[in-house]
Symmetry: C2
Subunit: 338 residues, 2 copies
DNA sequence: CTGTTAGCGCATTCAC
DNA sequence: GTGAATGCGCTAACAG
């Protein structure tokens, strides 16, 4: 039914290879021949079979991306950067949404059978050592976005520093009783996320630098999302000596904190200061003070790194670190004088 | 480097076709032979080449989805439903993000070369007649999500009814001066979106049913998103006789309306009632009254429809209509007595 | 510059 | 039940 390259060759009265050359923009074709071929292609409404092409060339012009919870605004924005860069380079994007630990493992395993795609992008998930080994052994081209791992190329931010910046801001405002709401250990472990943990480390570091002793009861962990964060924050705020400020490991969790404040009729920033992380779209709407990171750019850079890997010239830096910035809005202020 | 089916055959001491049969779970293989083959596969760590497989079989086990502005929360949620259903059926998902009219056209055109994928899902975009023709001619399997078009299968909601429900709610509360904020004609035209237009039609219908004469100056259109909606709503609210309620064509635009109210120090719902559409995640956070539609389900159903199409037994209904529901929250109340 | 050839790895006929 | 043979449509390497 559909015309093949052979039909075109016959129609144009040329060899099969010549058509192929025209298709691939080889310079080794005389203008007249090229035109004849192009005419035949147009007349036959020929369109080359991508699968056959991939099969013969070994290249699929497709990249897989493994995205945990791809509905999270921060992930979506990274994906947008990825899709955009990929499309600009003629690549297609196949998406794997990881919402369970089991799927995390199978996805990470499957990409080593580098077959359906030329390479993979891994968002936020850190491969374990054995997985890294398998990937390397299989020779799969991989770029990591928002994480780093031994010997892997990628782009990320300094989450520890980010946490530090957020908490230092609160300290500078005069807060001393500062809470933290982040991802549960279980979640961190089963997916091997690192950002919440690192941001917590930054929180501790900032406290230490200011000579403020951390209190165990001020750090709470739950499933990512508004709902858990809301409960955790409520608990925090009902402590005998509640924190005057809370640093949430993400803007989404910060929203839960804001809800908790609302629940308890606390005024933000009067009674409670809140800092988030990511600067997702709604943060501005909410007037949320947060740590901004270049989400779109991270996806874009991830693609660029992957493409250089595929092209055979790895980037100079293994792990590129993107800049972050504190965005001060309306949810932070000095604590109420006691 | 990687083992092929031939290696496995040799290793197992069987013919090449037998291995293929084992791979495809053909019953025409004796248990002992099957075991021998499976052992060889395991020993060689063989994994069949998907491209070769697709090439030989003509099936790619991949579905393309064309999503306009896939960062919009409503679209993301549909995508999640799509990814989930696709994965459950062993299909991969390749995503095309459409953010310009030009890309809309090329994407819609490209899927007719049904080659890289077995079929396509089109979200929210309505193909024009010539595009439908091309799709049909090419024999591409397509399911539409959130739109409908002559002769195409798909799943959607009744947006006109949805608009009507929203506005009737406002009328029931006693509002008579009701504004509308929706997508600009230009946007609607270049992408061929239909939902905003339909919801506006529902708005008019509800007004008519209540015997309220529509006022041209009460309907404003701009680019989708908070920013334009905010400006439009501000204009609306600064009219000599401003509306007491505004129906926004989407929750995102409703957020812009809420911002406008904040700008003008109007209290929602005291001074102004607001209704959105979609019931995206933040709607609950905002206490936004809105029209809920089954986003995840729409994606899931879209996939199911597409798969039946691919399986050769088209669904009974061409265009399935999903239910919607008014969710009354805190942004609507009776108008202030005059 | 151009035509011809040999596979890419597998599914799918066929004979046996 | 099983093995061998053909071809999917194209690219790449080779002669010319």
């Amino acid at each position: 039914m559909a015309a093949t390259i052979r039909d075109v060759a016959r129609r144009a009265g040329v060899g099969l290879g010549t058509v192929s050359r025209v298709l691939n923009n080889s310079p080794l074709v005389s203008p007249v021949t090229r035109k004849r071929v192009l005419d035949a292609i147009a007349e036959l409404r020929y369109s080359p079979s991508q699968i056959a092409r991939s099969f013969a060339s070994g290249k699929t012009l497709t990249v897989s991306v493994i995205a945990p919870f791809f509905t999270r605004p921060s992930v979506v924005e990274r994906l947008r950067g990825i899709e955009s860069a990929l499309h600009a380079n003629g690549y297609s994007l196949v998406v794997f949404n990881v919402e369970t630990a089991a799927r995390r493992d199978t996805c990470l395993h499957d990409i080593s059978r580098h077959d359906r795609s030329d390479g993979a992008l891994i968002i936020s998930l850190t491969p374990r050592e054995d997985e890294i080994l398998a990937l390397r052994e299989a020779g799969t081209a991989v770029a990591m976005v928002d994480t780093a791992a031994e010997g892997m190329y990628g782009v990320r931010i300094d989450d520890i520093f980010g946490g530090e910046v957020a908490v230092r801001h609160l300290l500078d405002l005069g807060h001393r009783r500062i809470g933290f709401v982040g991802d549960s250990d279980e979640e961190v472990r089963s997916f091997n996320f690192s950002s919440s943990r690192d941001r917590h480390a930054g929180y501790l570091r900032a406290l230490a630098a200011a000579g403020v002793a951390p209190r165990a009861e001020y750090a709470r962990y739950g499933a990512h999302g508004r709902y858990d964060a809301r409960v955790l924050a409520r608990n925090l705020l009902q402590l005998p000596e509640p924190p005057t400020a809370i640093f949430a490991a993400s803007d989404t969790q910060a929203m839960g904190v804001l809800e908790a404040a609302r629940d308890l009729k606390l005024r933000v920033s009067g009674d409670l200061s809140v800092v988030g992380f990511d600067d997702i779209d709604v943060a501005e709407y909410l007037g949320l003070t947060t740590v901004q990171q270049p989400l779109f750019t991270s996806g874009k850079r991830g693609v660029e790194i992957l493409l250089s890997l595929l092209a055979g010239d790895p980037p100079a830096l293994q792990s590129e670190v993107l800049p972050i910035a504190l965005v001060v809005r309306a949810t932070t202020a000095p604590p109420r004088p006691t």
